[in-house]
């Protein structure tokens, strides 16, 4: 193949290396207003009144808006509980209370200080276990004990499974909140055009969800909201559904009749956008003497923060992961999703899986140690295989897990390093962990679909219309490669138009490791269909059978007589399907999957990806500091359509996984609820100085349903990383991390209990 599997450069490369890729804050619209949001300084308070009278006296202010000036409609989300602007209560430090639009950002910012809000401060609760107790402050009126809902799963017979087990292991784990830290702070711009269509620019993964939510909160017909094409400065899940500034920007555009933009400060980005949910995890696993898993029970308390967003889906996906990660016949799960007076969680790369896998893979090593089984052997013994159906109904068509494990082990000299004696001040350790992940996931009532439209012009070039966003994952490039391959066109003759809801066909969005797989299938089928149209037209024109024609670089050639040929453009012109000098092809791909039921048993994805990772660390026994020396990764990617893009996803995921394991944390002051780590410096993202050696192997299992065999690759690279590091730390110094991040202090006191 010419383009598939090749290291094709990113199609937006020149725009990106020159800074000309336009992000929302780079837009320049005539008469554009700039808006700033007034946010709650209290974690929990009732709003008695808001006085905005002084604001409009400030020159340059165009409008001020509070909840009372809006239609008073909540976002749909999964549990509808949040207004674009607070109506009568604020529930976390940062809750939007009012917004000012002005001629400049400086004026808007100054105007916020003129708004007087009369708050009745209420007691607040920050720990989800406290929030569940009788008498805890109630955050939402309709949710007693702050319990949003409980996700339950029960497959097989867990009690019997534990009874039949030779050993039962029980452990507690906890994980921290992490902000996504997209390099582009949130920004959205909106304009009500003269036709009454609200146009909105928002760096998003899913224009489909943005349109739905904006139309809803603005009380507009969905046909009157257009999400516009714009670059997105990183997604990682935070922009996978909708962001809460989009509704506010849209309402301001309607109110003022002018283009309006809200761009968050870095502090707002860090302290008010959706984060990775902290989990408290109770994990119970029953095993036979030989290490075979019999039963597993996972009980979670999910710290939801103040609003629900997509918390239930994240919790449900943690359940799916726990039920499917290794063979386990009996499985039970409860996930209490609990409100607290903090910044709300939402989707973040891995969608609940990194938390669950940290617990499962950490306990795995404890089990191995107790049973005296090699950790590799224990994993191999319980590994999924092609053809398996997991406890929750995931049907694994192709499974490269065993191959991934063997690859990682053989290339790290694992056995020797694992068993090596650890002495001296700096001790090295190695740890293993694996992961499973979907390629698209059929869990939302909206459906599960991806569509691509291709138009070929008289010059033989094509424009490809793709409904999902590209947050920097190279999704657009991968789709362009597929079209170039099927139409045998050079890459520069394939133009990508993505995520404009008026011009591109509908796709659910780029999340759940979906786009290369589902949009990829749609692109491939649309391109094959277009190719068939060209052949059909050429066959009629050249008076030769279609099956004896060949397409190559813009020409359709008769195999028997190369003189008989016709250009793509001429084939378009003469095609009976040609409309307005264009040949159109559309394809909607709907995977053969089953929508997740409340019981949670369904084959939600058409293909499952696997990964094995080894982390090698060095622990300084005098400080407790952990440094990662090397990652070795083997990932079942199905087929790497673009190896650069796939490696990029894995390398980026490793850095995020390392940060998750060792440094990154959104720290909240337990007295005020205010976020302390409100800047990039305090959250401690890895820098280039922290990146260890990396060795990456792409295992190609060629899934029959994936385009050219491809599976999703976007998230799985992060899922096992924290667990691999935790296991390596244990191997180095014997410290078993039960919470993330693994802090030097905890390692130090473990090694020096007398110093505590």
């Amino acid at each position: 193949m010419k383009y598939i599997g090749k290291r094709v450069p990113e199609i937006h490369g020149w725009a990106k290396v020159t800074g000309q890729a336009t992000f929302t804050d780079d837009l320049r619209l005539p008469g554009m207003l700039h808006a700033k949001i007034l946010r709650s300084p209290h974690a929990h308070a009732r709003i008695r009144g808001i006085d905005v009278s002084k604001v409009l006296q400030l020159p340059g202010v165009v409008t001020v808006m509070t909840g009372k000036d809006t239609p008073g409609i909540k976002y749909v989300a999964q549990v509808s509980d949040m207004y674009p602007l607070a109506m009568d209560k604020v529930r976390y430090v940062g809750d939007p209370v009012a917004v000012v639009a002005a001629e400049s950002e400086e004026i808007a910012r100054e105007a916020l200080s003129l708004i007087e809000v009369d708050y009745e401060v209420l007691p607040a609760v920050f720990d989800p276990r406290e929030a569940l107790k009788q008498g805890a402050p109630q955050i939402h009126e309709d949710k007693a004990n702050n319990l949003v809902l409980t996700i339950k799963r029960d497959f097989g017979n867990v009690d019997q499974g534990f009874a039949e087990s030779d050993f039962v292991f029980e452990d507690e784990f906890s994980t921290q909140a992490v902000p996504h830290c997209n390099m582009e702070p949130r920004s959205s711009a909106a304009l009500m055009n003269t036709e009454g269509v609200l146009q909105i620019w928002s760096g998003t993964q899913s224009p489909y969800f943005v349109r739905k939510e904006v139309a809803h909160v603005c009380n507009l017909p969905i046909s009157h909201v257009q999400v516009m094409e714009i670059h997105c400065g990183g997604g990682f899940g935070s922009r996978s559904k909708y962001c809460e500034d989009e509704g506010v920007t849209a309402l301001l555009a309607i109110r003022t009749g002018s283009p309006v933009r809200i761009t968050f400060s870095r502090e707002e980005e860090m302290t008010t956008t959706r984060i990775r949910h902290p989990f408290n995890i109770h994990l119970k696993t029953g095993v036979k003497k030989d290490g075979t898993f019999v039963a597993r029970q996972m009980d979670l308390i999910v710290d939801k923060g103040a609003y629900c967003h997509y918390g239930p889906a994240v919790t449900g996906y943690a359940a799916g992961t726990a039920a499917s990660h290794y063979r386990v016949p009996h499985f039970r799960f409860t996930g209490d999703v609990v409100y607290t007076n903090k910044q709300a969680g939402g989707p973040f790369r891995g969608f609940g899986a990194p938390q669950a896998i940290f617990a499962i893979e950490s306990q795995m090593d404890t089990i191995a140690e107790k049973l005296g089984i090699d950790p590799l052997e224990l994993r191999l013994r319980n590994a999924n295989q092609s053809g398996d159906t997991t406890a929750c109904g995931w049907q694994i068509t192709t499974c490269g897990l065993e191959e991934c494990l063997q690859k990682v082990v053989s290339s790290t000299n694992w056995q020797e390093k694992w068993k090596a004696e650890k002495t001296g001040r700096f001790r090295q350790g190695i740890g293993l962990a694996t992961a499973i992940h979907v390629s698209g996931s059929n869990v939302f009532p909206d459906g599960e679909f991806s569509s691509i439209e291709i138009k070929m012009f008289l010059d033989g070039q094509v424009s490809v219309y793709k409904g999902s966003g590209d947050t920097g994952t190279w999704a657009n490039t991968v789709i362009a490669q597929i079209v170039a391959e099927e139409l045998q066109l050079p890459m520069e003759k394939v133009r990508l138009i993505s995520m404009d809801t008026e011009t591109t066909p509908q796709s659910l969005g780029s999340f759940a490791s979906r786009v290369a797989f589902e949009d990829g299938n749609a692109a491939r089928m649309a391109a094959i269909q277009l190719r068939n149209y060209l052949l059909e037209s050429a066959s009629a024109r050249l008076q030769v059978p279609g099956e004896e024609l060949q397409i190559e670089q813009g020409q359709i050639v008769y195999q028997e007589d190369a003189e008989k040929r016709i250009s793509y453009g001429d084939a378009v012109f003469h095609s009976p399907r040609c409309v307005g000098h264009l040949l159109n092809s559309f394809y909607q791909y709907v995977p053969n999957t089953v929508r997740l039921t409340p019981q949670g048993y369904a084959n939600v994805s058409a293909a499952y990806a696997f990964s094995a990772q080894a982390a090698e660390v060095e622990v300084d026994t005098e400080t407790g500091q952990v440094r990662v020396l090397r990652f070795t990764v083997a990932q079942d990617v199905g087929k790497a359509i673009n190896p650069i893009a796939v490696e990029g996803q894995i390398e980026g995921a490793l850095a995020q996984g390392m940060g998750y394991a060792l440094t990154e944390e959104l720290i909240v002051d337990p007295e005020t609820g205010r976020v302390v780590s409100d800047c990039l410096d305090r959250v401690m993202l890895p820098t280039v100085m922290d990146i260890p050696q990396e060795q990456i192997f792409l295992v190609e299992t060629c899934d029959p349903e994936g385009p050219y065999g491809a599976k999703g690759v976007g998230e799985i690279g992060l899922n096992p990383t924290a667990a691999a590091i935790a296991n390596a730390v244990h191997n180095a110094v014997g410290y078993r991390a039960h919470k993330l991040p693994i802090e030097a202090e905890d390692v130090y006191y473990f090694l020096h209990p007398e110093k505590r």
């Binding site: 020149w14 290396v17 800074g19 390099m183 994952t473 390398e651 280039v688 990146i691």
Partner: protein, 165 residues
């Protein structure tokens, strides 16, 4: 308010600078140089890096009134699509970016490094890029790209200097 002049990518431009206004704000709002990205506003991320009188600086940490008459190079000022700067070529060929938001700053930090140290060691490359955060790539391809750019430059017997600077 004071009218100031800046030589941006070789062209003299002028605009109104206000007390307290950063060079970043001046470039973006007065001159519409939107290729200079605003990532944090406090010198943590390096997305707003420009080359100011030959030195890479976080433009969010420089006041516009301080730099009247200075020369600024932004990512738009290096090379053309037909004749890209070695760093631009290397970033594209290596795939050293994903979302592209940190990329202009990253490239300018690398350029400032190579301008003063055309044959940096791996450790020097790392140090040169350590003020620029990237959340997408995990940095590995960025390091590879800078190394590749050094190779291109030495093969062409040229430097990574651009014509505007």
């Amino acid at each position: 308010m004071k009218k100031i002049r800046l030589q941006v990518n070789g062209t003299w431009r002028s605009g109104w600078a206000a007390p307290g206004q950063t060079l970043l704000e001046f470039l973006r709002t007065e001159l519409d140089c939107t290729e200079v990205k605003h990532g944090c506003g406090k010198g943590d991320c390096g997305a707003c890096t420009v080359i100011l009188n030959g030195m890479a600086v976080d433009s969010c940490l420089v006041l516009s009134l301080q730099v009247d008459g200075s020369a600024v190079v932004t990512a738009k000022g290096l090379g053309t699509k037909e004749n890209p700067h070695p760093l631009q070529k290397a970033f594209i060929e290596t795939g050293a970016f994903q979302c592209g938001f940190c990329t202009p700053g990253m490239i300018l930090s690398a350029k400032a490094l190579l301008d003063t140290n055309p044959q940096p060691t791996k450790a020097e490359i790392r140090r040169g890029l350590s003020g620029n955060l990237c959340r997408c790539t995990g940095y590995r391809k960025i390091e590879e790209a800078v190394t590749a750019a050094v190779d291109y430059s030495s093969k062409n017997h040229g430097s990574t200097e651009d014509s505007t600077h």
